[in-house]
Amino acid sequence: MAKKIIELKDLTKMYDETYAVNHINLYINENEFITLLGPSGCGKTTTLRMIGGFETPTSGDIVMDGVRVNDVSPHKRPINTVFQRYALFPHLNVYGNIAFGLYNKSMEENLERYGKDELERLAKEEKIKNASKKRTLNQEDVQKLKDSPVSKADLMKQIDKKIDESVHQVMKLVKLDGFDKRKVNSLSGGQQQRVAIARAVVNKPRILLLDEPLAALDLKLRQNMQYELKEMQRSLGITFVFVTHDQEEALTMSDTVVVMKDGIIQQIGTPQDIYNEPKNRFVANFIGESNIIRGVYKGNKIVEFMGAEFECVDTNFAPGEACDVVVRPEDWDIVPLDVAKLIGTLDASVFKGVHHELCILIEGREFVVHDYETFPIGAKVGLKVDPYEIHLMKVYDHEEV
């Protein structure tokens, strides 16, 4: 059973009179890769900033490990952020940027992090080593050095060494070894990005917040970083809260996707859930391409739309109830006309590499269909769809068709 690390209870943020985040409830488990997904202005970044401590909620609570942290200032939260525009310190080099957080830690924190006993042992070892350089030590001298207390300065020296180790470790992790002395302004976008990530993860935060960190990178780099981030999350065991407007990014990386719109959570689920079982028209449209058709549930796993009856797998509708039918473009099958449920004419065809994107007109409505083959424009095309690939959604009054 996964352990909750942070919980948002009825969280609300208002700017003037408008809701940026509107009474959302959400919990995040330890070790989870969760993505807040939505169009710009949906409140995803505001939510992230509230978790990070940069915005104070108007109402509601943020609870971390059972403790309310609404008013805890950012520097006291075990949370680090990778900012959208990276926000690297221009006056420091790569090393300085990454070590920044570690140098900010108090001596006690560092003692705890690296283990006081271990540090003392290392300090004593070094003392003995230095002493033996000057003269040969007998057993007694060594024992004396071992028993003598370790001074604060010696401990600090060991901490600095450990910090240095940590920084280089994380530089290796983000593939920036050897970049110590480079000015951050002389780095490429992708490298700056890595510094920003390294600077955050080196602190071993409980939660890492990422605010559209890949938005400024080009496609290839972005895809690479997606896998690297996912891999990093797995190996470091840190909870990632990722904000993006890119649905592909969200589906690729997340354990859980939270779809938001106008400050309201539309759906929470695994990428598979979100893609295959969208809860409403907005989610269906936002996540991937969809054909959404208004239909009527006939009862007994039969749904009627476009003048034809289809078998489906949904049962939670009353006979005669109106519903929205979602069929993904790749789920349509093109079949000979005599076995087709629907027949339309091909209006346009675009080659997309793996498949052709066909635009098929049926009774004046456009359907997007992905298929490996294409046909002459204007040809009659027959369509069929398997029952399990038809997804029905409840109709909400406020949604327009």
């Binding site: 990070g52 952020t81 926000a87 690297l88 310190f89 955050a200």
Partner: protein, 277 residues
């Protein structure tokens, strides 16, 4: 861009005739003994250099550097907090506050210095006011070190505030958030992020205050009752009273060298050359 290049030509001509040429003349004059600018009976000599060690020159250099240094440090200590507070404040119109700082600079500098001189002299407004309400109050600063420092700081403070303010204003607020995010509290964020970044503005401010303080002679002359020997006054006297163009030229050149040395030091601090220079 090419067609605009020719627009810069008058500027080059201007610089050539009014900066480069006089410099050459000064270099030539420093190695000669002439009668004013007349070259009759002139001869080449190193005689001018031997006079550099004379007491008036040494005292002048010492005084100039001393006052310039004190004025610069004080301007920094006063100007930095002011610039910081303005940049941090939520005042709707920061420009108005800045304008209030700049506005006095629009009046003639000499007039301002003379006015300060009156305010610091034996008979000042404060004294007459205090006397009318029956308190005997007497302060006479004119002619002291303090008066000169007050004059220099009040004259050049805006030049310290403006560049620092500009740099502070340009610091991305996201950097402050990042610093807090990485565990630095308010003071530490200032000390580790804001201040190092603002050093470029400080460097500019230091130059803008130090150079005129070190080379000018009007302020110390008026507020020091003419009792102070400064390098500026020594040079002025060489030209005006002694008609000694050769020695005056040499001193001016040395001052230029010193100033370039200072600029070089500053450019070491500001490695990317992002100051307003």
């Amino acid at each position: 861009m090419r067609k605009f290049k020719s627009l810069a030509r008058p500027y080059f001509v201007w610089m050539l005739t009014l900066v480069a040429l006089p410099l050459v003349v000064m270099v030539v004059l420093s190695f000669m003994k002439t009668n004013g600018v007349k070259f009759e009976g002139a001869y080449v000599t190193l005689e001018n250099f031997t006079r550099l060690a004379s007491p008036s020159v040494l005292v002048g250099f010492y005084n100039s550097m001393k006052f310039a240094l004190i004025a610069t440090v004080l301007s920094f200590l006063i100007g930095y907090p002011i610039a910081y507070i303005i940049s941090k404040s939520n005042i709707r119109n920061k420009f108005l506050v800045l304008a209030a700082i700049i506005l006095p600079m629009w009046s003639n500098k000499l007039l301002r210095v003379v006015a300060i001189g009156y305010a610091l002299s034996e008979y000042n407004v404060l004294r007459s006011f205090m006397n009318t309400i029956g308190i005997d109050f007497m302060i006479n600063l004119k002619g002291t070190d303090l008066a000169i420092v007050i004059g220099l700081v009040s004259s050049y403070l805006p030049f310290m505030i403006l560049p620092i303010y500009t740099v502070l204003e340009k610091i991305d607020p996201l950097l402050l958030e990042a610093s807090k995010d990485l565990g630095a509290n308010g003071f530490w964020t200032f000390w580790k992020v804001v201040f190092p970044i603002s050093l470029k503005g400080v460097a500019t401010g230091v130059i803008m205050v130090f150079l005129p303080s070190a080379t000018g002679f009007a302020v110390p002359y008026v507020l020091g009752n003419g009792n102070y020997v400064l390098i500026g006054t020594v040079i002025e006297d060489s030209f005006k009273i002694g008609m000694d163009y050769n020695f005056g030229s040499l001193l001016s050149l040395i001052l230029i060298v010193v100033i370039f040395g200072a600029l070089f030091l500053v450019s070491k601090v500001d490695k990317e050359g992002e100051t307003l220079l």
